[in-house]
């Protein structure tokens, strides 16, 4: 990926973060921490990787994407709107009465492949989609984004043991390893430990990357697309709340909206970041 492309995707990630914060502030509810940690991954997926058509969301040959960590819906909806599935303005109905943009993603939203929110289920349904892809001898891939807190759920490990058995090399999972869950640090609440080794032991091909480095994310996905009979897991090491200083590395903003003062500070920081990205490579 060249510098210009990287810059473009960084800008989109910055837009996703900004929109997510605006949506959550506007709704006075939502999940900023996990939205911000996933924004770079979502940006690479939607603006570089996924073979989808926003004008035809149910196109049968599209790549599938399942947002298993459905609570990061703000960043997800922002990505879909930026991709052109629905108007940006709709984002400000998020979590409001009568809105199509429910608190957690539903398949009623154009571009959403699976209803999620109850953790672990998206990962399991993605396995079903991958099996369907195999049955249909289809070329598309299934991408699924899961959270590290989500790894606590038993169904994740049921699915984990199942995918290699069915040779699902059309399945690419990305783990948003931001190290925090609602109540605190993942390593305090239920330590995942050496998660890479654990997943590898289940028969997956595992890569570990910096989940905020656009090029690393893209390259890891490219490597994962090889058809060697194995499902792929990319452990994306991220920072919870990435991009807003006071939301970083804390569980405090897992599921809490910023107040006015915090909101203004957050937007200012994201604007500064945007200007920084715009200046990149232009000296």
């Amino acid at each position: 990926m060249n510098i210009e492309e990287q810059k473009e995707i960084k800008l989109k990630a910055n837009e996703i973060r900004t929109l997510a914060i605006k949506m959550i502030y506007n709704a006075q509810s939502g999940h900023p921490g996990g939205s911000l940690s996933a924004s770079d991954i979502l940006s690479v997926l939607y603006f570089k990787v996924l073979n989808v058509d926003p004008k035809n969301p149910e196109w049968s040959k599209r790549d599938r994407f399942v947002m298993s960590k459905g609570h990061a819906s703000a960043a997800y909806y922002a990505s879909l709107a930026l991709k052109g599935y629905f108007p940006i303005n709709d984002l400000f109905t998020f979590r409001k009465l009568g809105s199509i943009l429910q608190g957690h993603p539903t398949i009623h939203v154009p571009g959403v492949d699976m209803t999620t929110g109850s953790l672990g289920q998206g990962f399991s349904t993605a396995i079903g989609m991958a099996i369907a892809g195999k049955l249909d001898k289809a070329d598309y891939n299934i991408y699924v984004l899961i959270g590290d807190g989500e790894m606590d759920e038993g169904i994740v490990w049921e699915a984990m043991i199942n995918a290699p058995h069915n040779n699902l090399d059309n399945l690419i999972a990305i783990l948003d390893r931001n190290k925090y869950q609602l109540d605190g640090s993942t390593e305090n609440i239920l330590p995942l430990g050496d998660i890479e080794s654990k997943i590898k032991a289940f028969g997956w091909e595992v890569q570990s990357i910096n989940g905020h480095d656009i090029e690393e994310i893209y390259n890891a996905i490219k490597i994962s697309q090889n058809k060697n009979g194995k499902p792929k897991m990319i452990v994306a090491n991220t920072v919870k709340g990435k991009g807003v200083s006071f939301m970083e590395n804390t569980h405090e903003f897992h599921g809490k909206a910023p107040n006015k003062e915090q909101y203004e500070k957050a937007i200012k920081e994201l604007e500064t970041e945007r200007e920084k990205i715009l200046k990149e490579g232009s000296t």
Partner: protein, 306 residues
């Protein structure tokens, strides 16, 4: 003639199995649920998920989202009990095309005991929007139900039993949401769902000898229930007895009570399992012990007729 509902289920899957959209999942009970009959012939479209009901249901949802007609089976106690949240979020809320066909429902699981005897599933599954809930009475009706729902869009829950049951409905069509008037009568109405139909019929025959003319209605669809037929017979006979191999709470009896309360007046007595767990023993003997019996129907009929 005694026939098995689960064998009928397996045979029907095999019969309709040529359709490449059909995919069947099981959780290491395929030789008990008889989905293996499909699995042996259509290996590539049969997935034994191992002992993981939650992932089974999640995978079913993913397959259905990709255009497949999915049958997901296990014992009722496991697929409903263990996988409820996945059923709720990923199949009911999404309104996806998954048919959950559970076998070994109710007391007639028998010797395996209370851990394996699902008595709450009608209530649990009826509470889910988009789900239709069906409890066939015998093997021929099971065949008709499976064939029909395979080509009706959206989620279904079908409740089957382990024991062989008397064949009664060879000559009856299954229509979703419609009760079957098996025997007409004027003095009281016995409404049954699932495999207790034969017990209700036996009771009605004995009542006839006592000069009591009981109507017998079989209610295969618990949701949407045939409230019109219930109302009509509640009104005409004024006395209703419900019979089911299910908890007294949230099953057929509760639904009929709601209809009677909302649409008219009739005396009602409910026969089912009284807020308790079952135990090990032969299936039909368990039904007797827990009052789901001809004798109890007759006793309740005599009480209600007074």
């Amino acid at each position: 003639m005694m026939e098995s509902q689960r064998v009928a289920y397996g045979e029907t899957l095999l019969e309709i199995g040529e359709d490449e959209k059909i995919v069947v999942l099981d959780a290491d009970l395929s030789s008990s649920t008889h989905t293996i009959m499909f699995g042996n012939k259509y290996k590539e479209r049969f997935f034994n998920m191992g002992i993981q009901e939650q992932n089974e249901v999640g995978v079913a949802a993913g397959l259905a989202r990709s255009g497949k007609i999915v049958f997901a089976s296990s014992f009722a106690v496991f697929i409903v009990g263990r996988a409820y949240d996945i059923i709720r979020q990923s199949i009911a809320y999404t309104n996806l095309n998954v048919k959950i066909v559970a076998t070994h429902a109710g007391l007639t699981v028998g010797e395996d005991g209370a851990t394996h005897q699902m008595l709450e599933d009608i209530g649990i599954m009826s509470g889910l929007p988009n789900f239709r809930v069906i409890a066939p009475a015998d093997a021929p009706e099971t065949r008709k139900v499976i064939k029909k729902i395979a080509y009706m869009d959206g989620p279904f829950y079908v409740r089957l039993s382990r024991e062989k049951v008397p064949t009664l409905l060879n000559d009856y069509e299954f229509e979703l949401g419609k009760g079957i008037l098996f025997k007409d009568g004027h003095d009281l109405t016995i409404i049954s769902t699932g495999i207790t139909l034969s017990i209700a019929v036996d009771a009605a025959n004995d009542l006839k000898a006592k000069g009591i003319d009981a109507a017998v209605i079989h209610m295969p669809t618990l949701k949407p229930i045939d409230s019109e037929l219930v109302s009509k017979y509640a009104k005409n006979t004024g006395k209703v007895i419900t019979v089911e191999e299910h908890s007294i709470y949230n099953g057929l009896g509760s639904r009929v009570a709601e209809i009677i309360a909302e649409h008219g007046t009739a005396k009602l007595k409910r026969i089912g399992v009284m807020d308790q767990f079952g135990e090990s023993g032969p299936g039909w003997a368990l039904l007797e012990k827990y009052g789901i019996s001809k004798e109890n129907i007759i006793k309740k009929s005599m009480e209600i007729i007074r």
